[in-house]
Symmetry: C3
Subunit: 433 residues, 3 copies
């Protein structure tokens, strides 16, 4: 494959401005404050921990940001091979003027000071957004987020519903539900009414998606109100639910959310396959894994029941990508969505992307989201995807099928930029809900 | 990888004449009559539907062929990236003199007229067969197909048995069975006798394979007659079977077919992994999917029980390919067979083929079948496979292992051409059954 | 990708001396005695059998080595495409001066004689070790192996425990246990005491690992002594165990082994996923397969319970590699280990290696073991791996991430050489156990 061709395509793709359709950005503090916000990203803490740094050292309460960085740096040598480390180096070089190949115990303090000056400079947020060519950033908002204090046309709210579906039986979730909706969830009617209020709140603040992450054994199904009513009653009287009752309640709430999405014309992002707290002694956010024995078969009923709801689907296991491709190939309302977490490395992005580009309508693919917690990560993460995308476009389309470079770049733009606007349409005053 | 090398290998492979060992060709009307036969291929209708064209528009009763094409064309823009679309373009350019990059609303009518003239020209069937370098075409025949009116030495009958195995309890299937065999299937003996007659009928018409497609959860097993007898009795008295009884009957009929294959020295094509009607609102033939949680473990007992039956196995899920490679690697009677349906895109053909060529005896691999409904598709589909094959031969054998180009092409010929004759031998008058 | 770059990296990797961390070498007869030891490797017998040579011909009792080779040679033509055949050719060319492209019925006898002279030459063991650049070879020792008669600092004992875990209820295993430990296994206490003695025996002979192969449905769990005591009692009284009781006993012994590994600071090699005797009519060692529906989820409890035990994990199914990558990415005590058996072909090594190098700390990857039975196979098998490794280092690190060639080779050395010493440390007199 011609490297020059790949580079030409990549430099075209690098010019594109785009909306990042899934992040964990806190819009009130979007950039990093110190290098600790960057090295504290779970990829570095979990990899450094996996390579031998005790969790207690990394997460010692009361550590200053500088000390935290000092604790993680000794773990970097062992993870220099990882692609996540390459994001870190790219950030340090491109943003902080770092000029070495390695961050180690005798050069990190200077890097810390350099980065501190830059991160604290006025206008940094605007500058990092410019450099990252971002025209919008989707958020991940708790259902009781006030969505106040930021520009929702740029930092776009997204209703994250894991708590509602999986933790509604917990008193603190119910307390938050009460405060957010002004009502109780003691009956099916009031629960549904509350959910409607949450949707109304989010829609009135420019929300463009509902989202949830799901374990590999979740199986959506319609549940009748009469089955759920006694469960809510039990909760009201303080009786805890059995695991199977909890499962029924989860399916009911999940299905109700899908109904609201249909009502509100809101896409429902499904992030399928995560098992939580598989390694409970791991660092914060470094405890979850997956089970590759997972199938979209469990979702066929959902896709059939809600033909008007668009489901952008992310799968955690590379082994499920072919099912995702095939579901998106025949179901009009299933859309492929990015490369999630353990599948977000070039070794899996490349084969998964190749299959999608060969068999899913181009209008039904969300190329990439960053999943970032801090703005500095958009550039290296999208950069990684653009490199893979350029390779696949070069090999399969320009060389393999004789496409012009212009057409290949247009295909790249469709999945990187245009589809986000198409699939999560902005809601102008004229659209209503 | 040297592009020139790949091209040299490919042009050698392009010269080969071959038998297509699995198609859905109607031998009484093998070529397309109009462009609607081409654009009506489920790949285009399902992808266009997935991209937004309502099924009702595509499948409106009474549509003329020209109108049907006019309904599908607006959906093509969204699927230009797919490899299936590349087959379409190749057909239109190579066969119909189409000279544009895209088929769209202002050029399709001219294309329609051009193609109509060509498809209606005398000798088109012979010409398309010549251009496709086909020396034989396997069919997919219902068990009650009279197999009359065509040259069975070219259009080779293949006994497709899905109806017998999965729908024998349905009155219409039993009615067809009665008409085809002259007997009832009210007892085990008469059922078996009928099956024997079907085999005799097919063998006397040059059939070279028995075939079936199977759901991912099917598990073949021997079932004793005494267990089945009461089920057939129930059917005789009009009592419907439960799902589990139906499963028993299916396993019994399936096992009986394997016994007949052993008797008749007929290979038994297994196409493993399809779930039917997962998306019932989809277009015709665009409703089926699969579950990647599928394993050949369920077939080990069958392969052990019938050492003299050759089982060419196709798997729908890419994730099952390694099992297929490994089963064919140690079981003498398991043969790898082509790249089926959702796995029939270069993104999956290439890794699957690579593994097969590295670990399965070359004599036990059926490289490719087209699965086509109309003759015009043989060339682009085999062409796609030949391109991938040329790449793998170039990279793994010529460059990776120092093979001569001649040896590499010979390996390609073995799996593309020779093995079909070896694995599905022609039955001369001297062979009997 | 530049071939010259790949070759430069490969020739650097070819220079490295290393310890082979898993083999089935018999240290009392480590090299092949005749070509029959080479052609008798199960890869050739099983592939030749799969291609049509009857097992009875290959395994006829009383065959001389020369006759055995003569029986297998006719099967080689059909398997020339396999990578296993390429190992054979490489051995014959590099070691025995064979100059043809093919071993066939008219040249094998000369090859046999040439190889006999070389294999019988004095100093051959030393020479083949030198040529293979081996500085140590891990063995696979039965629990009752006396470990006598060889240099355990070079041929490194490894306690293989399949018999203890899965066959302790068989009289012959119990008899061997009695002889090896001097005690019975009629109670939990005496069973544990015996296991401790086995560990002490192995540790005093420089053992550096405990190891086991496991079926895909095995699920480790702690089992209380009070549940196991009656099972051992039943065995004492000659009552056979049910399958579920056998499963409990297996889990108990397995967990006890992990406890001893913790005590002894011994890594516990897990080789996960093999189903034994799936094809019982197959040749010796050519009867086992796997089920790709296998998940490391079943091992999470084990990894959590033994944070101080290092678990080098091999998976038989390529489809489990992403789980292995992800487990090793966050669990400090999970290490990726080589490319096992049905996954030991470049088609699977390359994607599996690529993912590991991109996402697992470099210190936690055992690049490769040969799994060989005879020393002559180290060179071609490691050679195959080095070629793939050079490709991945060239493509992903030098070209993809701008690493220097020196750094890329250093990464290769880390996973090929250094990690074996790091993960299976030598036990000097000062270390104790």
């Amino acid at each position: 494959m011609s490297q020059a061709l790949v580079q030409r395509l990549q430099s075209e793709l690098d010019q594109l401005w785009l909306v990042d359709p899934h992040t964990h950005i806190n819009p009130l503090q979007a950039p990093s404050r110190t290098l600790a916000d960057i090295l504290g990203y779970h990829y570095y803490t979990e990899l450094a921990h996996s390579a031998g740094i005790p969790r207690e050292q990394i997460e010692e309460p009361g550590l200053s940001p500088r000390d935290k960085v000092g604790r993680i740096v000794p773990g970097l040598a062992a993870i220099e091979n990882t692609v996540q480390h390459s994001w870190l180096l790219e950030i340090c070089r491109d943003l902080f003027g770092f000029e070495h190949d390695r961050i180690h115990e005798s050069n990190w303090e200077r890097l810390y000071d350099q980065s501190l000056a830059i991160l604290a400079s006025p206008g940094w947020e605007r500058e990092i957004l410019q450099r990252s060519r971002l025209t919008g950033v989707f958020l991940t908002n708790d259902f009781d987020d006030p969505l106040a204090g930021f520009d929702t046309s740029f930092y776009i709210p997204c209703l994250r519903t894991d708590d509602l579906v999986f933790r509604l039986s917990q008193p603190e979730t119910r307390q938050r539900f009460r405060q957010a909706t002004g009502g109780e969830a003691w009956e099916v009617d009031s629960l549904r009414e509350g959910i409607r209020k949450l949707f109304a709140h989010f829609l009135s603040h420019n929300a463009r998606a509902c989202a949830i992450s799901l374990p590999p054994d979740f199986a959506p199904a319609a549940v009748s109100s009469s089955v759920v009513e006694p469960l809510l009653g039990a909760l009201r009287h303080g009786r805890p639910l059995s695991a199977s009752e909890q499962g029924i309640l989860s399916r009911f709430v999940f299905w109700s959310l899908a109904e609201e999405c249909a009502e509100a014309h809101l896409p429902f992002d499904l992030m399928i396959g995560v098992n939580r707290r598989v390694y409970p002694a791991g660092v914060y956010q470094g405890q979850d894994l997956f089970d590759s024995r997972c199938s979209l078969s469990a979702y066929a009923g959902l896709f059939n029941a809600f033909p008007r709801v668009t489901f952008p689907v992310s799968v955690l296991a590379h082994g499920v990508n072919q099912e995702l491709v095939s579901y998106a190939w025949i179901f009009p309302n299933v859309v492929t969505s990015s490369h999630w977490w353990y599948s977000n490395i070039p070794a899996y992005i490349e084969p998964d992307l190749r299959a999608r580009l060969q068999a899913v309508p181009q209008t039904k693919q969300i190329g990439y989201y960053s999943d970032m917690y801090k703005l500095e990560f958009a550039k290296p993460k999208f950069g990684m995807f653009r490199r893979v995308l350029a390779r696949v476009l070069a090999e399969d389309f320009v060389m393999g099928r004789g496409w012009s470079e212009t057409s290949a770049v247009a295909l790249g733009k469709t999945i990187l930029c245009d589809n986000t606007e198409r699939i999560f349409p902005r809601r102008g005053p004229g659209r209503g809900t």
